[in-house]
Amino acid sequence: MHIMEGYLPVGHAVGWSLASAPFLVWGIRKLTKQLREQPESRLVLGASGGFAFALSALKLPSVTGSCSHPTGVGLGAILFGPATMCVLGFVVLLFQALLLAHGGLTTIGANTFSMAIVGSFVAYGLYRGGATLRLPTNLSVFLAAALGDLATYTVTSFQLALAFPDPVNGFAGSAVKFLGVFAVTQIPLAISEGLLTVLVLNLLRSHAGEQITALVPALKGVSKWSSTTCCSCLA
């Protein structure tokens, strides 16, 4: 769930758009370079975009009694890096703002920042961190996707708290309120997103292993059984 159209004061809307713009320019350059140097990766890129598209459309119920949706940016961030995924995340947000009145054009800068930028960087960073620590691949992927999702909605809450500080308790008071709305709702959804990302990445690894290894050499080979058992314990 993103910040609704018109619900950020003009200054904030412009500010977040300016903050997001350089990442998009960087991402578009990375994306064109990627397609020029590894044109055979375009199908996997399409699948990563498709994953973000599909997951963003799934509004799931949560323990707080409200609904929200996962973001799906973790998969692409792990495979193509955070810059490229910024662009795909932006496209998803644009589609939803224009056709679904979900999110909005005036808030697309802020929403791009939380979902496409922070979400991608957190997911990518955690995956790389997990790989460096030699954690099991599926665990790194799960943590990257789940916490990237959670980070997105934490940022959304802070963005709203910054725009609407509580008259008595200021920024902190509002932050608690918005975190209660977005971040707590998101916890079970983030777990779902982590599980689905492990599932789809392992499908890609077993069917398109060569293409995946060309993108991220560390993802070579699939240990299917250890993956399913390990992550079902986590769930």
Partner: protein, 99 residues
């Protein structure tokens, strides 16, 4: 399979455990709607200064577009998986005949 089961269980639990606080109260509304009421609580005078250029004219049309979005995404993943699976089968016809 276990992974999918985990996702289904996570989605089902709230449906059975969460009950409306008052009789007849609607639950499982969007988190963005809840944020909207939180904003109104903090700044009762705040008026959104921009409205969506186009809104789906009804809940049905909205669910059509959300369904389309999910279908397009799933289609892209399935195309990619099917393409590489098929290509590998074509490269090794013996395996394909066996499998």
């Amino acid at each position: 399979m276990l992974l999918l089961l985990g996702v289904v269980v996570l989605a089902l639990i709230p449906l059975f455990t969460v009950k409306p606080a008052h009789e007849g109260e609607e639950i499982f509304g969007g988190a963005d709607g809840h944020a909207e009421s939180a904003i109104t609580e903090i700044r009762p005078d705040y008026q959104p200064w921009f409205t969506p250029l186009w809104e789906p004219p009804s809940g049905e049309i909205e669910s059509l577009l959300f369904g389309l979005q999910a279908a397009l995404g799933a289609g892209a993943i399935a195309y990619c998986l099917g393409y590489y699976r098929g290509r590998r089968g074509a490269a090794k016809p013996a395996d394909a005949a066996l499998g």
